[in-house]
């Protein structure tokens, strides 16, 4: 290493050249992975051939031959396996979407409560979070289903005039029966929503210009609930309530809220809310104390400062982990299969897989579905994050 002048190339063995080594290891890795995939593929082909099983999605259009209890699109035992897949997927998305809305509301309440100056409230929120976060979701779901199964039997219930029955088959309530003319109520609801959005933007504009605030809540109630109500009376009350009719086996028709759906939803909401609460708390703490003090100095009340100063800033910190929690909730909804809620895993990788015995295509499709949901969500979130990111001057 002595007397090395600038420009001299040090003689190094190619083995120590980082570029060569990098290339070598990458080629090695590529070869190993390719070899592994090849061996796995060969074994699978060989194995399937030996078993006389043809692996394909050819069963997709065959008649399923089993019914599903909870469905949002038409499905009978004469529908196809493909339809069963869609029923499962839609159930997964349905329970996840409602779960996300409810968990967000509950999570924000608990997260804010955790930081409350009220000692009792903050302690209660603390123990809620600790207890729920440290018990596996599976146990919670089974426990909730178990407790709900202890609700009274349908034949033990006395008939009541309200027509509301909480039994171990689920919640039965009067269900609306829409007659002719009821579409106007729906149109009124749409019009009310559209009007409210217009008013909302006008009010926001007015506030930035004049500082005058518009009481939005009564307007919201008036437009979104009042307008359809007016339409309801104007069209001569075309909606009739169908009261649950008691039969030998509980009540006629489907429950308003089926037991398994309630158990799955409650479990997912309670569990995810504890995590969201922690996300919200971390977000609020991340807003520097000066912001709260400044808001106070401006004469904002604590609730105003939370709404107008703290939360908008905290949202930047909250959003990425919050999205993560939404994804977790969607993935965790697979556990509802254990308590007999017919979501994707229960219907597709459960019943359909058992009837068709096509493990590879069915597992592949199922994993692809969840992967797609995850990727779309992270893609949207990344875009949103870029827009939300603090623009430094």
């Amino acid at each position: 290493m002595t007397n090395m002048t600038v420009g001299d190339k040090p003689k190094i063995s190619p083995f120590y050249d980082p570029k060569v080594r990098g290339l070598f290891f990458q080629v090695l890795m590529l070869a190993l992975v390719a070899l592994g995939v090849f061996i796995a593929y060969r074994n699978a082909v060989e194995g399937l051939r030996r078993q006389g099983v043809v692996s394909s999605l050819g069963f997709w259009d065959s008649v399923a031959g089993f019914p599903i209890s909870f469905k949002l699109i038409p499905f009978t035992e004469l529908s196809t396996y493909g339809t069963a897949f869609w029923v499962g997927l839609i159930n997964t998305l349905f329970v996840s979407a409602i779960g996300i809305v409810l968990a967000t509301i509950l999570g924000f309440i608990i997260g804010v409560a955790r930081l409350s100056t009220n000692w009792l409230v903050s302690k209660l929120a603390y123990w809620y979070v600790q207890i729920i976060r440290n018990i596996p979701l599976l146990i919670q779901l089974i426990l909730i289903a178990d407790i709900l199964q202890h609700l009274p039997n349908t034949n033990e219930l006395k008939e009541n005039s309200l027509g509301i029955y909480l039994s171990n088959k689920g919640l039965f309530t009067p269900q609306p029966d829409f007659l002719g003319g009821s579409q106007y109520i729906f149109y009124a609801l749409l019009a009310g929503l559209a009007l409210f959005i217009a008013v909302y933007y006008w009010a926001k504009d007015r506030q930035t210009k004049t500082g005058q605030q518009t009481p939005l809540l009564p307007i919201f109630l008036g437009l979104v609930f009042g307008l359809p109500l007016v339409a309801f009376f104007a069209t001569g009350m075309p909606v009739q309530m169908q009261y649950p009719v008691k039969t030998r086996f509980g009540f006629q028709g489907d429950a308003t809220l089926q037991l398994e759906f309630v158990a799955a939803l409650v479990g997912l909401v309670v569990y995810t809310a504890a995590f969201i609460a922690e996300v919200v708390r971390a977000g609020i703490i991340s807003v520097s104390k000066g912001q709260t003090e400044a808001a106070g100095a401006l004469g904002l009340s604590p609730s105003q400062s939370l709404k107008l100063v703290i939360v908008p800033q905290a949202m930047r910190v909250i959003l990425p982990p919050l999205t993560n929690q939404y994804l977790n909730l969607t993935k965790n909804s697979t556990l509802a299969s254990v308590i007999a809620f017919p979501e994707l895993v229960q219907v597709f990788t459960g019943t359909v897989l058992n009837q068709t015995n096509q493990a590879i295509p069915i597992m592949g499709v199922t994993m692809l579905v969840y992967l797609t949901i995850s990727l779309i969500t992270s893609f949207l979130m990344n875009n949103f994050n870029k827009r939300m990111a603090l623009r430094e001057r």
Binding site: G52, V53, D146, Q149, K169, V338, P342, G350, N354
Partner: protein, 338 residues
């Protein structure tokens, strides 16, 4: 550390991995020194482990009989408890040598699912159990009822067919495991619970008030339950099949676990052929000629196994019914051993 852990994992794989079938299953089983038998996770009367891991049941005795035919020792068998939905994958992958798990013989299972059935060790049919308080006398009265059913079984499809054929409706609640299914029925979530009739009697024992539940008279399907093996291994298929027929023949001839040694001296040519004192039928199967003697010595004849596990000697108290020998009005009929 990385290398050590990888090594450890590879080592564990190597030790845990059992040598499965690639040549003949019989040679493989002989080489391993024991039979790997796929059984139910817990079904009283057919395949049920107690807390100490001792297995009992009609299916379990079948496995022991096969082991006895091969090794002369009914204890050289290991059980893999399988859920309904895992059973065929386990058989196909070679994880088990034979599947004796109250499995219904159907055409699709016998063809596209890669399994082969040859014998029926229990003729069953699907039935319903309901609470007495509902005062239901027939399954046809179950219109609108909520019914608990286990996933991945022929039961699920038969149920649909039956209600469709009779133009009545029901609300299904589908569970993956039999434990959860029974529990949901027992708690009142469902009005009825359906599975094979033998299973209904077994599950009723585990309910909080067994006497409050009644099995309905209708049998809505044919459920021939039998052992399944992988396709494409003639020799092995025949051993499994003839194990059953040996037990049946023994019952026909009055050969029991208790008197089998005495029977060796019998002059009845049928008995002599069965016990291998005449002819070389065992060798034809790839076993020894006293194969049937070993089976009977280990588990007794079919009638004994039946009574001990599901019949009068058990808690289930199921009558022989169609599982009686053909000579007594049942369906159990063995081709002659000659």
């Amino acid at each position: 550390m990385k290398i050590k852990i990888t090594g450890l994992v590879v080592g564990a794989v190597a030790v845990l991995a059992a040598n499965a079938a690639s040549a003949g299953t019989l040679e493989n089983v002989k080489q391993k020194g024991f039979l790997q038998c796929g059984s139910n996770t817990s079904l009283a009367g057919f395949g049920l482990p107690d807390a100490q891991g001792n297995w009992t049941g009609l299916d379990v005795d079948y496995c022991r009989a096969i082991a006895a035919a091969i090794f002369g020792d009914g204890t050289k068998v290991k059980f893999t408890p399988l859920a309904a939905k895992d059973r065929f994958t386990a058989l196909q992958s070679g994880e088990v040598d034979v599947l004796v798990r109250n499995t219904t013989w159907t055409i699709s299972r016998d063809t596209t699912n890669g399994a082969t059935f040859q014998a029926v060790n229990y003729y069953d049919g699907q039935g319903f159990i309901v609470r007495k308080s509902l005062n239901v006398k027939s399954a046809l009265e179950l219109n609108g009822a909520t019914i608990c059913v286990q996933q991945g079984t022929t039961t699920e499809l038969n149920l649909t067919d039956y209600f469709r054929a009779n133009k009545i409706t029901y609300k299904p609640v589908v569970f993956a495991g039999s434990d959860e299914t029974t529990k949901a029925y027992d708690s009142g979530r469902c009005d009825a619970f359906t599975t094979d009739a033998s299973g209904l009697f077994a599950e009723r024992l585990k309910m909080s008030k067994p006497e409050d539940n009644v099995v309905l008279p209708e049998i809505i399907s044919k459920e021939p339950l039998g052992p399944a093996v992988r396709q494409g291994d003639e020799k092995w298929t025949k051993i499994v099949m003839w194990t059953h027929y040996a037990m049946l023949t023994a019952e026909e001839l009055g050969v029991t676990k208790a008197n089998v040694d005495e029977m060796l001296k019998s002059t009845n040519p049928d008995v002599k052929r069965l016990l291998g004192t005449e002819g070389k039928f065992g060798e034809g199967l790839g076993l020894t000629n006293d194969w049937a003697y070993k089976i009977i010595k280990a588990v007794g004849n079919y009638g004994e196994a039946f009574e001990r596990n599901v019949g009068q000697g058990s808690q289930l108290k199921i009558a022989r019914g169609i599982n009686a020998l053909w000579s007594k009005g049942g369906l159990q009929y063995a081709p002659p051993i000659r």
